[in-house]
């Protein structure tokens, strides 16, 4: 009897997200130097690093909010081709609305604070062209339910909600159109530990149910360890180490990573 093994998935599948050789400087400050990142379908990529290491800049570029000085960005999706940094404003907005979801650390960036929570989710659908009130209402409710938002607060404006709830509204908005890529920028920073755990739970469950590709940026190693499959460690605008989560945490190679892991443990 011969045992045949399938090739590992990582060999057979194409990466969904490819960021290649991205550099960006703000005046004299070089925010990113020659950074490349890959994320495979259904995978969670964690990016760790200290403040100012360029991790949020990289995430903003993945959300097409900024363009780099050099480098390319491709998404392996039907109807999407070429370097996404070359798209015009109009195509970029459509792509962001339909294929990419983002959760910011600061809910004020991602939400209209004085509109209702369900309206915030509906906005995403409206930008994508949905014009039926009943459909909007149903889809917004479903997305909020999926992110475990209490449905009796459906129409409360985010400004009246707690920090954890605001993050859930952001999450519902991000997943409303079932994006291929979900970007999370320090989604739990600023929440207390118990709420943090609940939000992480929701994220993990969503990831397992829907197999969304996620890129999560955090300086909190605990968050990365809970969620990420692979980790990139950044420092001073460059990637110092990348690999599987367990590998990085148990056998860090780079001096900075070793410091980071030891500081945590």
């Amino acid at each position: 009897m011969t045992l045949t093994l399938d090739a590992p998935r990582i060999v057979t599948t194409h990466p969904l997200v490819q960021v290649r050789n991205v550099s960006k400087s703000y005046g004299p400050v070089q925010a990113l130097r020659d950074v490349s990142a890959l994320a495979y379908p259904g995978e969670v990529l964690g990016i760790v690093g200290e403040s100012g290491s360029g991790k949020s800049t990289l995430l903003r570029m993945m959300n097409l909010e900024e363009t780099p000085d050099t480098g390319s960005y491709t998404l392996d999706l039907p109807d999407v081709s070429g370097n996404l940094f070359d798209l015009d404003r109009f195509a970029r907005r459509m792509l962001c609305a339909t294929c990419i979801g983002i959760v910011y650390q600061n809910p004020h960036l991602g939400l209209l604070m004085k509109h209702s929570s369900s309206g915030n989710v509906a906005e995403r659908l409206l930008v994508a062209g949905e014009r039926s009130f009943a459909t909007l209402r149903a889809k917004a409710t479903a997305a909020l339910e999926a992110s475990e938002f209490p449905l009796d607060r459906l129409d409360a404006p985010p400004i009246e909600l707690s920090g954890g709830m605001q993050q859930r509204v952001q999450l519902a908005k991000a997943i409303a159109l079932e994006p291929a890529l979900l970007l999370l920028d320090e989604p739990t920073t600023g929440l207390d530990v118990s709420v943090q755990a609940l939000v992480l739970d929701t994220l993990k469950r969503l990831q397992q149910e829907r197999r969304i590709t996620m890129v999560i940026v955090s300086h909190d190693l605990g968050v990365i360890r809970t969620l990420a499959d692979r980790v990139m460690v950044m420092r001073g605008g460059a990637v110092v180490e990348a690999g599987l989560t367990d590998q990085i945490f148990q056998d860090p190679q780079h001096a900075y990573t070793q410091q980071l892991v030891h500081a945590k443990l």
Binding site: L112, H115, E123, L126, V127, A128, R131, S132, F133, D155
Partner: protein, 304 residues
């Protein structure tokens, strides 16, 4: 030949109050506005002897368009005889020597605050609407630079968010006036604070409508035979005010836009908002021969 014979006699002001260059600029901006229906064109907005916000935008357009043979009608919330309408009408007549009228059928130029007359306007008539806030995106995008970008991209999704919020909060669309409308399938405009009742009158209308905001310095236009579609959800139809069944307590007319007048006993009486339409109905009732024009609404319904 002396210098005196070559010099024009001194005059207190140019014809129609505004100087030539101001009128030329407004004419150019009006032509641009007509060329791109619903798109807001910036203009300089000169001083006129009236406070900004009292119809200076409309007045500048009227003064630019007027000539000594044009009959001018001015209405304020449908009424010809309110203080603001009367003073603007008197001012235009004084500086331009134009005849004035109250009858919609006689008028060549109609300057209006927040109403469109009930009688159908003809293709030789011009309606000038005074606009306090020309930017429909302001409630959803306070940054005007971004709002202009949104106009350029026809990125109007958030306008529906406003309607969504109203339906969620109140069970129906609460936007009573300046209902955002899509002009010629391209630009969303606010049709000045005319009631919802009046918005269908702009759709494929024969007359030219020019909307001008003096304080905000913007002119936009609805040319004749242009589509004006109020923004609606596909499953929530557009509804005008429910005035079809109301009767005017003075003229007895029915099926037109009414003003509600609270009475001492707590009830309310209704009076037709287009005052000249009411006056004509009363004069006809009293046996005078009065020409009543075709109206947009018939029995409180807009024929589609």
């Amino acid at each position: 030949m002396s210098l005196k014979t070559l010099t024009k006699p001194w005059e207190a002001m140019a014809y129609g109050f505004l100087d030539g260059s101001a009128k030329r600029e407004i004419r150019r901006k009006m032509i641009k506005a007509i060329a791109v229906p619903g798109c807001q064109m910036p203009y300089a907005s000169r001083e006129v002897p009236m406070a900004r916000g009292w119809g200076t935008g409309g007045l500048q357009v009227s003064l630019t368009l007027v000539n000594p043979t044009m009959r001018v009608k001015v209405i304020d919330q449908g009424a010809d005889d309110s203080v603001n309408a009367a003073s603007i009408r008197r001012f235009i007549a004084r500086v331009a020597g134009a005849p004035t009228t109250m009858d919609t059928l006689d008028a060549d130029l109609i300057q209006s605050r927040h109403r469109i007359p009930e009688e159908i306007l003809r293709d030789d008539q011009v309606l000038v609407l005074q606009v306090p806030n020309p930017e429909p995106l302001r409630p959803v995008q306070p940054n005007m630079s971004i709002a202009r970008q949104m106009h350029a991209d026809a990125d109007y999704g958030r306008m529906w968010l406003q309607l969504y919020e109203q339906i969620v909060r109140s069970g129906r669309v609460m936007q009573g006036a300046s209902y955002p409308s899509l002009v010629h399938g391209r630009h969303v405009m606010t049709p000045s604070p005319i009631p919802r009742w009046d918005v269908p009158k702009l759709n494929m209308a024969q007359h030219l409508t020019i909307l001008s905001a003096g304080r905000e310095k913007r002119i936009f236009a609805v040319p004749p035979y242009t589509r004006v579609e109020p923004l609606v959800f596909s499953d929530v139809p557009y509804k005008v005010e429910d005035h079809a069944g109301l009767t005017c307590h003075r003229s007895g007319t029915r099926g037109f836009f009414m003003n509600e007048i609270p009475q001492e006993d707590g009830s309310s009486a209704f009076e037709v908002s287009d005052s000249e339409w009411g006056v004509k109905a009363i004069r006809r009732r009293d046996g005078e021969e009065v020409a009543l024009g075709e109206t947009w609404y018939k029995n409180g319904r807009m024929p589609s």
